[in-house]
Symmetry: C2
């Protein structure tokens, strides 16, 4: 949803503007993944979102549990608010204290975080520090499934179609 | 798979050692997501993997299409090789030239990349630079589904169980 360079993300019954123009232009291939990474791809950003998902909403908790330098977490929380992924709510007056919540955009990052966690379980660690259990009673073992045909999605079954006329799968159209 | 601090990732019929000890220790909560991010979480790493998935296997193509500084891509490719995510194969003798391929661990990052792309399509861009088509004939519209019960996964249906005795969901066990 754009209006003169501003993107609006609907956040708890009010519209919070996100000025994409304020971010540095992304080099290389126009790509939603690159844009997503620009908003949430920094390591401390994703770990901040993890802590909020685990129910740790206060700055001190987020800083302690991520292990990030406090100034980095402060900067990341500010950036995530500008990106419309996190919102801050005051829970105390004097002194003013705040808690951080995920917006709908933030909550929709859940498959990204889960996919990363499952990959890490399999390829980056020998232990399993956290196990997710689905309410069907089984340990979480998810798959990406096509909503149309119901089959599990494999890379070999996908065709990539570049929509931007200036690019092909191989690179910039002009370099062909 | 570990043997004295070395993790072995099976890579095209040979074992490629990945020394996790060589990476800086991760601060904060023990977490597979944090470990995954340590291996592949840098923005240029994921965009490098994107290009290899799109079939662009040569250094010059990867550098051009990601738009990253060439020295950053060189460093990322080296790190991804050490992590057992990418492997390099020589395709020419004089001068020696190489192509980069994803290992099984690298190919298993596809759900992460897809989740990021879908999130970016929805929340970070107004255009759709790349559309994925499933071989059932429809544009990719995937659901994140439990393999056991077949239902779509929502955060509210998950219970998190911390396995590490030194931590709880709230933080380090000692701080309780």
């Amino acid at each position: 949803m754009t209006e003169g360079g501003w993107t609006f993300a609907k956040v708890s019954s009010e519209w919070q503007p996100v000025c994409m123009d304020a971010l540095p232009r992304i080099p290389g291939r126009p790509c939603s993944m690159a844009s997503a990474l620009q908003l949430v791809g920094e390591r401390w950003s994703l770990l901040t979102i993890r802590e909020i998902l685990l129910g740790n909403r206060r700055f001190d908790e987020i800083a302690r549990n991520t292990g990030a330098p406090r100034d980095r977490i402060a900067a990341r929380l500010k950036a995530l608010q500008s990106a419309g992924v996190v919102e801050r709510r005051q829970y105390q007056d004097r002194p003013a204290r705040f808690e951080y919540f995920l917006t709908p955009a933030g909550r929709e990052l859940q498959p990204v975080l889960q996919a990363l966690m499952l990959w890490g379980d399999r390829w980056a660690r020998d232990d399993r520090p956290l196990v997710l259990e689905h309410d069907c009673g089984h340990e979480l073992n998810p798959a990406w499934v096509c909503r149309h045909c119901g089959r599990e999605i494999h890379g070999r079954d996908l065709t990539q179609k570049v929509q931007n006329p200036d690019w092909t799968l191989a690179g910039p159209a002009t370099s062909e």
